[in-house]
């Protein structure tokens, strides 16, 4: 690493922190239904959508009603993607005449996009029509992101309301961030991306005759619009199979920097917005500090591994692009795995053993270090509830969080929200290890093969979507099993979170006393960090030891497989 690498990293972190507060204020205002003045011209769009759907945005919903609306709406979004894939051959905007997507892949892709996972069992440029990408995948890029924001807003309401029986209106929570935040932000970003060289065309693929006299087909498509929201909405599903490593998806060093920034910007802003919405700004900064510490720690370790593991000089560029270089690629690998984005600009399977292992560890933490847009924050609050519960046990008092008593009901649900994705990962792995269908999908040998399988289930169950691409994920077990796990990892967290929001909203606020464990100081930050590490370590220590750690040791011993 040289001076320019450190400058790059410092600039990235500085810009990320700098945009957190303005974006957070914007997001909080939008979720409160008070869009910024310069976007008020979009008010007719919001109202038009309500009128079209016959919705009264001020109608309050109980948590059950809210949850029902989320489930029905997201399910329908999935059905739309599914139908588009099956009938794309008969629909317009299919210049390459792609036929229907096979059933298992179509279901997997539909689930993958409705859950904000964006796992790629498909390869866009060789199987999906422009219409499927634009009206199916592209739309869910927005709506799954907005769903995450809605759940976060509902949770914040649960904490700030007193003796209330409702947590807001899902339709309004969905439409407002889409219209006033995601669409305007994506539009600006997409135009910048086109200027950098990301394709945005409805023409058929271009036929070229290369300098060597051979034929080359240049793929096109409406990519820029989709890639902007893919990054901003922690989606991560590529327009092209090789995602943001593909030069048409991420053409320059500048586009790379901006895309890496975009994938963390809104999850970071969510923390700030949560502080505003729940009326706990100092507490939000403590959460932010814990997240940043985890991120920087993981980044530092990965860089150390990538630059100093044996073989680095010869192998570190494998799976990476010349225009990005090693440091920006490692930064991206960490950003995309702490946030549940899952887009890649370098192949994670070809990272150094510990570099890939840390990417995996980031995912296994539960996508709460910034995490998915909205979902990272509410996932983190589940971990916070466990932390205040532990603190309560230590001092022998009923735990409180932001003035609300945390009782058995909340702790039970928080434990489910934290442990369900863990269980999904472990069951997926166990069955994969035990069956031929699971084992035969691997593309490498030795400990790396084990890491491939763990990574796949971790990525799907935690709604990340990145992969060790050496694993062949198109077989029945991984597509169907993966679909189940992605649904569990998404709604198995959302439903408990909304139930907790409903239960907290109904409670009175208790004023802080001398026995209250303060959640806005460094002691709490340490406790929270400890809980996060303990949960992940207790669950995954054996897998991580037998996979990345063992591979690192064998690499040092000069073994290959």
């Amino acid at each position: 690493m040289n001076v320019s690498d450190f400058t790059y990293l410092a600039l990235f972190v500085a810009v990320l922190v700098a945009v957190t507060a303005p974006l957070g204020r914007w997001l909080a205002a939008v979720l409160r239904g008070e869009p910024p003045i310069w976007l008020r011209w979009l008010i007719p769009v919001e109202r038009g959508l309500y009128r079209l759907a016959g919705i009264r945005p001020d109608e309050e919903m109980s948590w059950r009603h809210y949850t029902g609306a989320i489930l029905v709406f997201n399910l329908l979004g999935g059905v739309l993607i599914f139908v588009l894939q099956l009938f794309q051959a008969k629909l317009p905007l299919n210049p390459q005449n792609f036929s229907a997507v096979p059933l298992g892949i179509a279901v997997n892709t539909a689930v993958s996009f409705l859950t904000n996972t964006n796992w790629q069992a498909y390869s866009g440029e060789s199987s999906l029509s422009y219409l499927t990408q634009m009206a199916g995948l592209g739309v869910q890029n927005f709506l799954s992101a907005a769903t995450g924001l809605a759940v976060m807003a509902a949770l914040a309401r649960g904490l700030s309301r007193k003796s209330a029986h409702s947590i807001g209106n899902f339709w309004a929570d969905l439409v407002r961030p889409t219209v006033y935040l995601l669409v305007p932000l994506s539009f600006g970003f997409a135009v910048v991306l086109v200027a950098q060289g990301v394709v945005m065309s409805f023409n058929p693929y271009v036929h070229a005759v290369t300098l060597a006299g051979t034929d080359q087909l240049i793929p096109l498509g409406p990519a820029a619009s989709q890639i902007a929201i893919k990054q901003l909405g922690t989606n991560g599903g590529g327009f092209f199979g090789l995602n943001s490593a593909h030069p048409f998806e991420n053409p320059t060093p500048l586009s790379n920097f901006l895309q890496a920034l975009a994938l963390l910007a809104l999850p970071a802003a969510c923390v700030y917005a949560y502080g505003l919405l729940a009326g706990a700004r100092r507490h939000a900064w403590v959460i932010y500090g814990v997240m940043l510490a985890f991120f920087l720690g993981a980044l530092g370790l990965s860089l150390w591994s990538e630059y100093s593991s044996p073989g680095s000089a010869a192998l570190a560029l494998e799976g990476k692009e010349v225009r990005f270089g090693i440091t920006p690629s490692v930064l991206w690998a960490n950003a995309t795995t702490v946030a549940s984005n899952g887009s890649v600009n370098a192949m994670h399977s070809s990272l150094s053993p510990l570099g890939g292992g840390i990417a995996l560890f980031n995912i296994l933490l539960g996508e709460i270090i910034f995490g998915g847009i909205g979902s990272g924050l509410y996932g983190m609050v589940m971990m916070i509830l466990l932390a205040v519960f532990l603190a309560g046990l230590m001092v022998g008092r009923t735990p409180e969080y932001l003035g609300k008593k945390i009782e058995a009901f909340e702790i039970r649900l928080a434990a489910i929200a934290v442990l369900l994705p863990c269980a999904a990962v472990l069951f997926g792995c166990a069955i994969s290890f035990a069956t031929e269908a699971g084992r035969s999908a691997v593309g490498n040998a030795g400990p790396h093969a084990l890491t491939e399988i763990v990574y796949a289930w971790a990525s799907m169950a935690n709604n990340n979507g990145s992969a060790f691409g050496s694993l062949t994920a198109t077989g029945d077990w991984y597509t169907w099993g993966g679909s189940v796990v992605m649904l569990l990892g998404r709604f198995g967290v959302i439903i408990p979170v909304l139930a907790i929001a409903g239960s907290l909203a109904a409670k009175k606020t208790v004023p802080p006393s001398s026995g209250t464990f303060p959640t806005d100081g460094p002691l709490f930050a340490v406790l929270l960090g400890g809980v996060i590490i303990i949960v992940a370590a207790l669950t995954y220590f054996p897998a991580l030891t037998l996979g990345p750690v063992l591979e690192h040791l064998l690499l040092a011993a000069g073994r290959s497989f």
Partner: protein, 185 residues
Amino acid sequence: MKTFLQSLRLLAGLTLLCGGLYPLAVWAVGQLFFHHAAEGSVLTQDDHVVGSALLAQKTTDPRYFSPRPSAGDYATVASGASNLAWTSAKLRDAVAANEKDFRTQNQLTEATPIPADLTTTSGSGLDPDLSPEAVRLQIPRVASARHLAPEKISALINRRIETSLFGPTRINVLQLNLLLDQLHD
């Protein structure tokens, strides 16, 4: 049932907005101001399309600079990566083979270190760039195949180096090759 109908109608409205109007607006602005980029940064020679500035293409002719090796053999629909691990024997063999091939093609001795971008494959399989060192090592081969003075090619290369605050210095191989065809003694 009410929720279902509301969902259906709202989904229709939002699909129109996010899946129709939004991409069309980006497309319109892109086509208006950045037409060349939006259509794939296509390059032409003698009025026919020879490729895209952003996509590497297979080159075996010694008169042209070779790009990085490609795990998918420069296929574009879809392109491929090796996804091999650092502990993979296949990767070790591939790197050694690429190194040996490059030495043979360019008549380089064991004493010359070969930059890693020439021996490893990229993530996209279509990496359009090379490091300046990787290009310079190919100058003697290209110069002798074209009967050109190496200094002339070297000067062209120096003009083609791209630098960025956000990434390493690099040279676009296809654009360089097209300019090479315009060089005369």
